[in-house]
Amino acid sequence: MDRSLTEASADLGCNAVGTMKRVIFPLSIPGVLSGITMVFVPCISTFYISYEFSNGMIKMIGDVIEDKFYKSSEVNYNMGATISLVLMVLILISLAIVNRFSDDGVESGGVVV
């Protein structure tokens, strides 16, 4: 980010909070969005950790999918595949929405993690 932008905003009468709100934050939106994506995606796909830490109280969609493949009483590959596909489509839709709000195109690349 260009340092002179914050200086300009201070010159034009913004205090520190105003500069944060009107200059720094809007300019860091693409970074914030990719941050959201980077947390959102792994969270969606975790299984076991939340299940185990909550003593089996909280079951995430990942746990459900895992049960459909590995828990002998619930084995149903087709259902598991269906849930996975629905999950994938939902994620891709939400990512497409997030990408609409960031002007940072797919091409710019860079380190993502």
Binding site: A16, F69, L85, L92, G109, V113
Partner: protein, 270 residues
């Protein structure tokens, strides 16, 4: 304002590193307890290396898999990035980049499940006895680390000077020689960072390995199966060693990145 900043930063650091710190402390505990510290000892480190061969074997497997998959992913990814960078049609380029990015954005559960289903059905078609084995987990790891390599090499290719390649060809280099003598050195920092990222992604992955491993046991899978019972502290010992190793790797990575940024800046300013 400044005090607030310090408090906030220390809170973040505390939340991030307190669990790891606790684990390292208890890996040096002489007793088995995870609540009372009975005294400093390297007992668990000794037990880990002398008696717990399943963990050490799993560590060897993990490192082997990480090295092989990172090498293959780096070679494939670099070649792919060079190809993508040379594409003339803009829509094709962005379409290919989107296609490369989707596996990275895809939830790991879905990637794991879909790969397992594919391996199982191909195995059935070829009527193999075991459809998932070392090669399937290797394919899976290469697949999910490829986008990271491509994403790290692409920006370097974009900033590489086209005139240098032309100059090399003018001076008698064949296109292949020009690639190895001019392009490759200039994108090397990106390749190195891509390799290290592929390596750590492979090292770290649990979900995809869980679905595609067969009988091949990696460290996260072994720890997962151990975590159903109370863990023995030799697991903490191993994890402490791994944490320190990753920490050192990250420091090296940062130094490499800083240097390449600096040299880039000095080239630009000339």
């Amino acid at each position: 304002m400044k005090a607030l900043r310090t408090v906030f930063m220390s809170l973040v650091m505390l939340l991030l590193y307190a669990p790891i710190f606790v684990m390292i402390v208890f890996s040096f505990n002489s007793a088995k307890s995870t609540s009372i510290f009975k005294g400093f000892s390297v007992r668990w480190y000794k037990e880990l290396f002398l008696y717990n061969s399943s963990l050490i074997d799993a560590l060897k497997n993990t490192l082997l898999l990480a090295v092989i998959s990172a090498v293959i992913a780096t070679v494939l990814g670099t070649v792919a990035a060079v190809g993508i960078a040379k594409m003339r049609k803009k829509w094709l380029k962005s379409a290919v980049m989107t296609a490369t990015n989707i596996p990275m954005m895809n939830p790991a559960v879905v990637t794991g499940i879909s790969m397992m289903l594919m391996f199982v059905s191909v195995g059935k078609l070829l009527s193999l006895t075991s459809s998932v084995n070392f090669f399937t987990i290797l394919i899976a790891h290469i697949t999910f680390s490829l986008p990271y390599v491509i994403l790290n090499v692409m920006p370097k290719l974009k900033t590489a000077d086209e005139h240098l390649i032309e100059a090399a060809e003018d001076l008698g280099c064949s296109p292949v020689a020009a690639f190895f003598k001019v392009v490759l050195p200039s994108i090397m920092p990106g390749i190195v960072i891509g390799f290290i990222m592929a390596f750590t992604m492979s090292l770290d992955d649990f979900v995809i390995s869980y679905f595609t491993n067969g009988t091949f046991q990696t460290l996260p899978l072994v720890i997962y199966s151990m975590a159903k019972k109370p863990l023995k502290p030799d697991v903490y010992a191993l994890e402490s060693i791994m944490f320190i190793a990753i920490l050192l790797l990250m420091i090296v990575l940062n130094i490499v990145q800083n240097r390449s940024d600096k040299s880039e800046r000095s080239i630009r300013s000339k």
